[in-house]
Structure formats: C-alpha cells, structure tokens
Point group: C2
Chain length 210, copies 2
C-alpha cells in the first residue's frame, strides 16, 4: 500500500523577543509527537543544563565558518557576537522521514529560508500589547534603560515583518497560544496537498487501478 501522506512539512516560528516564543515552541513540541525540532549549530558556550545535540550542537567558530563556506546552512546569523545556523542536511533528513519540523528562528533567518525553500508555513508570534512587550523586556533585561529602549526598537521593527507570515498568533494567555500553534500544525497535516493521490486511488478505486 502506498503512503497515505507525502513527506513532512516545515513550520517556521518567529517572534520579537518578549513575545514568549521559546516556551510556546517547547510546549507544542512535547504535545505533538510527529513534530520534530531541528537542532541548530552555535558557536556560543553551552549554558547550565544544556546538552550537546539537544538544545544546540556546540561547535568552534572555525568549524562554523567552514560549514558556511560549504553551504551547509539553510540560514545562519550572528546574534550578540555568536553564530547560529540551521543545517540543511538535518532538516532534509527529518522531513524525508515524514516528520513535520519546527524551526524556531528570528525574522532574518526566516527571510533566508523563504528565499531558499519553496515550501513552509510561516508563523509569527505577537505580544498582546505594547505595554506587555515593554514589561516583558524590562523583566528579562538586567540592562540599562538605554539598552532596553534599543531592544524595544528592535522588537518593533521585527513586528513590522508580520505581513510576510502566513499566521499570526497573539501570545496573551500561553495555553491559548499553544492550542492555536498546535491547531496550525494539525490542520496543515489535513491539507489536501499532503494527501497522496495514489493512496486515494488504491483505497477507493482498487479495480480500476490494478
């Protein structure tokens, strides 16, 4: 019997900092077993509790720039002086195995993926209001007021990019936002284009087919 579904789908989730993206993605990944996380490469040091090849694959800068030169990354970026990149090979292997894949990347990374990949569902996470965004940035940052202002400006400039995404999730109540992100992935799996027409043919019209 042929497979019921075509290969897996790619979901790209972006958000300005302060939107609560990382928590949201983790919750959805643990709720949906067929949704996998593509582990990124980074040059930054592992933090306490982080495991190599789970949160990130931690590599040296030379190795990273070597991979950039070989074109190994579908997207990469320098953030606060450290390099982060998504491996083309890892992504393709996960998709080819029939998994849906979640990429948790920033607006710039998403834009690189969009240019290189024909498919993909782009999801933007928004804070519920300007006040909440400010409060979240202030809570998170041990920075000076000047730095917080800079980060708010950066967040607002990222928010303007929401128009290039397919879906927009307002992250007001976390569990509601989780439910919506799960729904987007679940709905996409029922998309008609994901159904293998050969499966339909063999299932409902077996005589005509053989």
């Amino acid at each position: 019997m042929p497979e019921k579904r075509n290969k897996g789908s790619l979901f790209i989730v972006s958000a300005p900092s302060g939107a609560g993206k990382t928590t949201l993605c983790k919750k959805v990944l643990s709720a949906l077993p067929y949704l996998k996380f593509s582990v990124s490469y980074t040059t930054r040091q592992p933090r306490k509790g982080e495991v190599n090849d789970r949160e990130y694959t931690f590599i040296h800068r030379d190795e990273f720039t070597g991979m950039v030169k070989k074109g190994d990354f579908i997207e990469w970026a320098e953030i606060h002086g450290e390099l982060y990149g998504t491996s083309k090979r890892r992504l393709e292997e996960l998709l080819a195995a029939g998994n849906d894949v979640l990429l948790d990347i920033d607006v710039q990374g998403a834009s690189q993926v969009r240019k290189k990949s024909r498919e993909g569902t782009y999801i933007f996470i928004l804070p519920p209001s300007l006040e909440v965004l400010k409060t979240r940035l202030e809570k998170r940052m041990t920075d000076s007021q000047a730095n917080i202002k800079k980060r708010l400006k950066a967040a607002l400039s990222e928010i303007k990019e929401y128009t290039t995404y397919d879906y927009v999730i307002m992250n007001d109540v976390l569990n509601d936002a989780v439910r919506v992100l799960e729904a987007i992935v679940t709905a996409h799996r029922a998309s008609r284009k994901k159904i293998n027409p050969v499966w339909i043919e063999r299932t409902f019209f077996p005589k005509e087919d053989t």
Copy 2:
C-alpha cells in the same frame, strides 16, 4: 480601538454519505462557540424532534421556488425529490457579525458556492476505507442490494471530487476527526489575512499613527 479581526470566515464541509459528516459537524459546532451553523431551507416535512429554524426552516415548495427565482440562495439542490437551499442573506448576516460559519452541504452545493463566493475553506470528509464505506452504507440503508450498489457508486463518484477541496479529513476515529476539523477552524482564525492591519498599527505604533 479598531477590531482585531476582519469579518468571519466560511467553512464548507462535504462528504459522500457514509463518511459520518453530520455527527462530526454537530460535535465541532458545540465545541466552538464562535462557529455558527447556517440553517438551510427545505421543502421536506420535519422529522420527529426537528424544530423549525433549528435543523431547517421548513417551507412550501411554492415559497422555495419563489426564493430560487429571486436569487435568494447561494446554493440549492433537489435531493430525493425534496428541495434544500442555503440563504445568501442568512450567511452574510452571520459573517458580517464576525462569526465563522459552517455549511454542511453536498459536493454539488459546494461547487455552486465556489462559483459564487471568492472566499471559503473547503473541507472534504473521507471514510477510512472502501470496506468501512460499504459497511456504513449497508448498516444505514434498509434498501435493496441494488439500491445500496447505486448509493456506493454515487459515493465513489463524490469521492473523486476531493481534489477540489482545501482539506481532507479521514473519519476513522470520530474524536480524532473532530479534533482535526476544530484545528482547521482554529488555525484559520489565526491566518494573517484575518488580522486587521489597523489594529496592529494602533497597538504597536500608536505615536506614528496619531
């Protein structure tokens, strides 16, 4: 403050008989309060337990054909000698009030709506296999073998139309199918096109706007 979302969306659900569409739609309608059912008009007699303007609006044939002439229906059809139709006005009123609306109509009705309406999400319900389809038709029908064969042929010819739908739901385990239909409606509400750009502007860029 401007509305966060544009007006409601239309969901058209079709299936061959034996796919379990009516039960599925009822379950999803009771789970999602913002999803409304557009009550159809019909010339057939009410069955026991049916309430006028709830399951259907029951009208006389003359009245129905008058409405057809006035162009009151977005779709209508004659099924087993009785007339069924979806009122344009009812549909528009529900959508304009910001509701999402579910239409439970057959493949022919869906095709009429598709021709007249630019928007709408089309969802096709499939039985999980040919065997299940046959069993369900046999269980339901008190008909002769010849009639069951005729109905199976009709169901298979409707299944061929799945290619004109946006989503395909395999109704194997009812609760799983309910979850997928709910996800399609929920995901669609998070579609970027449903977000009012004026709301975004006023929420995150208030100074530039006033």
